[in-house]
């Protein structure tokens, strides 16, 4: 099993969700994050002082999937989150040693769906 973690643009979440749903991946969790990466921050002026904003607002997506779905999840995220401009983000795939669905107490791959 895998835990797919992706950092994406907030405005791409809907598109990513559509792509995931198209692949029958419905389970996920989303968090607000502030990120820095290759996309440079921007400067604002607040009360006359130039201000460097280098932590940008991003979303963090976590999707626990079975091994065979990991590829598909990555594909879906790629499809929905890619604009081609700096700041699109990254996807990490982590190994998940065990999974338990709390309500049903299903474990392993069965817990992922």
């Amino acid at each position: 099993m895998k835990l797919v973690v992706a950092y994406i643009r907030p405005e791409c979440l809907n598109a990513v969700k559509q792509e995931l749903f198209a692949k029958k991946i419905y389970n996920m969790s989303v968090t607000n994050v502030l990120g820095s990466g290759r996309q440079k921050g921007f400067t604002e002026t607040y009360r006359g002082v130039v201000m460097e904003v280098n932590l940008l607002k991003k979303l963090r997506l976590e999707i626990g999937v079975n091994d065979d779905y990991a590829e598909q999840a990555v594909e879906a995220i790629n499809a929905g989150a890619r604009t081609g401009k700096e700041g699109d983000g990254v996807i990490f795939v982590l190994e998940c040693a065990a999974a338990i669905r709390i309500r049903t107490q299903e474990t392993g791959p069965a817990a992922m769906g």
């Binding site: 405005e11 979440l13 809907n14």
Partner: protein, 460 residues
């Protein structure tokens, strides 16, 4: 320790005192003899001033309602629009609008004198009244202007909005305002607008102020187009919930508070009618809120907060035309109907016409303004004001006049609004880019966030 003669001195103002030292007794006009009476003129001036201050306070009311009902990423931009329309509107109205609205009448259509109150002598009682009257009218003009920002919130360029604001307070509002209220300042001497000559009744401005703002907002919403994500590909309306209902609620109460100045202050006179005007204003606001609350409850299964808040405003807008003419019971009914009407209208404009008016400005101010204006023809009660409506044995004449007036002003405001927004669209552009809209106008138009440090979930 202190003799009572001291009080007269104490009444002198700083400058007077300084002067007294230099000029001895050269300013008798400002020191009042003990036991002298307050003149009716000064009483009226005081009341008009206080009422104007209350109306001025409606500005943050509008700002809060509009901020609260839109998203966090655009809150500062909405605030700036409200600050701008007041800040530009009051000077522009002083320099241009006032003369167009209240100056020497030209064919019943517009005024043509009194710009910047030139010729007014502030040392005379008349001149001092003129300045007070100007203040009262300028906050009304700013009210009409500020209504617009709600309808076009979250996607309109700030520079475009500046042009709209100036045009409204300089020309669009004063012209139709002249039709209905043109002789309020100069009386017979300067001549009346065509609607007042017909006997059109709009005591405090359901049509003159609110409808004008409301229809301009609708025009703007049409030309600017809906917010991204407001309508799905298949044309279904989607909800874009407001981010701060407590602020919006505070805004509604502030508006309600200021509205007592708006309506009761429109007498510009201290007499016995101001009390019942306030009663009518309160009653209609109450039943407006109740009507919307109950109607939403029945229709959607829940007493919706934002609709109930809109309902109170709908009642207030609707009673504005007739607050001097109807009885408290009439006000109760007018408010109730407005509260129901505003929901029907919001849903119709949003879901059927597919025009995206984020705060419901066109329904609250446009539709309910027209409704309230026409309602005078039905509900004007003998004993209150000077007319009898259909329900009290009056004929249909007033109703016809009211419909003509409301229709004429509405057509003017909608037409002028469509023209103005279209011209802006074709020249400097009326809408921010898609990317700016997604990031939010606070960052992209003003370079700052409204809620720095707060974690806000944005997703579209």
């Amino acid at each position: 320790m202190f003799e009572s003669t001291k009080q007269t001195t104490a009444l002198l103002r700083p400058k007077v005192w300084a002067l007294t030292l230099l000029l001895a007794t050269l300013t008798p006009a400002v020191a009042f003899a003990e036991g002298e009476a307050l003149s009716q003129e000064h009483g009226n001036l005081l009341w008009t001033l206080i009422a104007a201050i209350l109306v001025m306070f409606m500005q943050p009311g509008f700002a809060l309602v509009e901020m609260g009902f839109s998203r966090a990423k655009n809150a500062g931009n909405i605030l700036m629009k409200n600050l701008l329309d007041f800040s530009a509107g009051v000077p522009v109205f002083f320099l241009v609008g006032f003369g167009i609205m209240f100056g020497q009448d030209v064919a019943g259509l517009f005024g043509s004198s009194g710009f910047a109150l030139s010729g007014v002598d502030p040392t005379t009682a008349g001149g001092q009244w003129d300045l007070t009257f100007l203040f009262f009218q300028s906050v009304f003009a700013a009210t009409a202007a500020t209504i617009i920002s709600g309808g076009i919130a979250e996607r309109t360029k700030f520079s475009a909005y500046i042009i709209v604001s100036v045009a409204v307070t300089a020309l669009i509002y004063p012209i139709s305002g002249h039709w209905a209220w043109g002789s309020l300042w100069g009386g017979d001497e300067l001549g009346a607008g065509w609607l007042e000559a017909m006997g059109f009744i709009d005591f405090a401005g359901s049509t003159v102020v609110h409808s004008v703002g409301g229809w301009m907002a609708l025009a703007g919403a049409i030309v600017v187009g809906p917010r991204l994500g407001k309508y799905s590909a298949d044309g279904k309306a989607k909800a874009i919930p407001g981010h701060n209902i407590p602020l919006a609620g505070l805004g509604v109460f502030i508006l309600w508070f200021g509205w007592f100045g708006f309506n009761a202050g429109s007498t510009t006179t201290v007499d016995g009618t101001i009390g019942y005007i306030a009663v009518n204003t309160a009653m209609a606001a109450c039943t407006g809120a109740l009507g919307a609350m109950i109607f939403a409850w029945i229709k959607h299964g829940k007493p919706d907060t934002s609709m109930s808040l809109n309902g109170a405003l709908a009642g207030l807008v609707a009673i504005t035309a007739g607050c001097y003419e109807v009885s408290p019971v009439g006000a109760l009914i007018i408010g109730l109907l407005a509260g129901i009407l505003v929901i029907i209208s919001i849903e119709f404009i949003d879901q059927v016409l597919k025009i995206d008016d984020p705060v419901g400005a066109s329904s609250v101010h446009g539709v309910c303004g027209v409704f309230g204006t026409i309602a005078v023809g039905f509900f004007a009660a003998p004993g209150y004001g000077d007319n009898a409506g259909l329900f009290y044995g009056g004929g249909t004449e007033i109703i016809v006049t009211q419909i003509i007036g409301a229709a004429a002003v509405s057509a003017w405001a909608l037409g002028a609004g469509l023209a103005l927004f279209t011209i802006i669209k074709l020249t400097i552009g009326v809408r921010v880019s898609q990317e700016e809209e997604l990031k939010g106008l606070d960052i992209t138009e003003h370079g700052m966030e409204s809620y720095n440090g707060f974690q806000i979930f944005t997703n579209e």
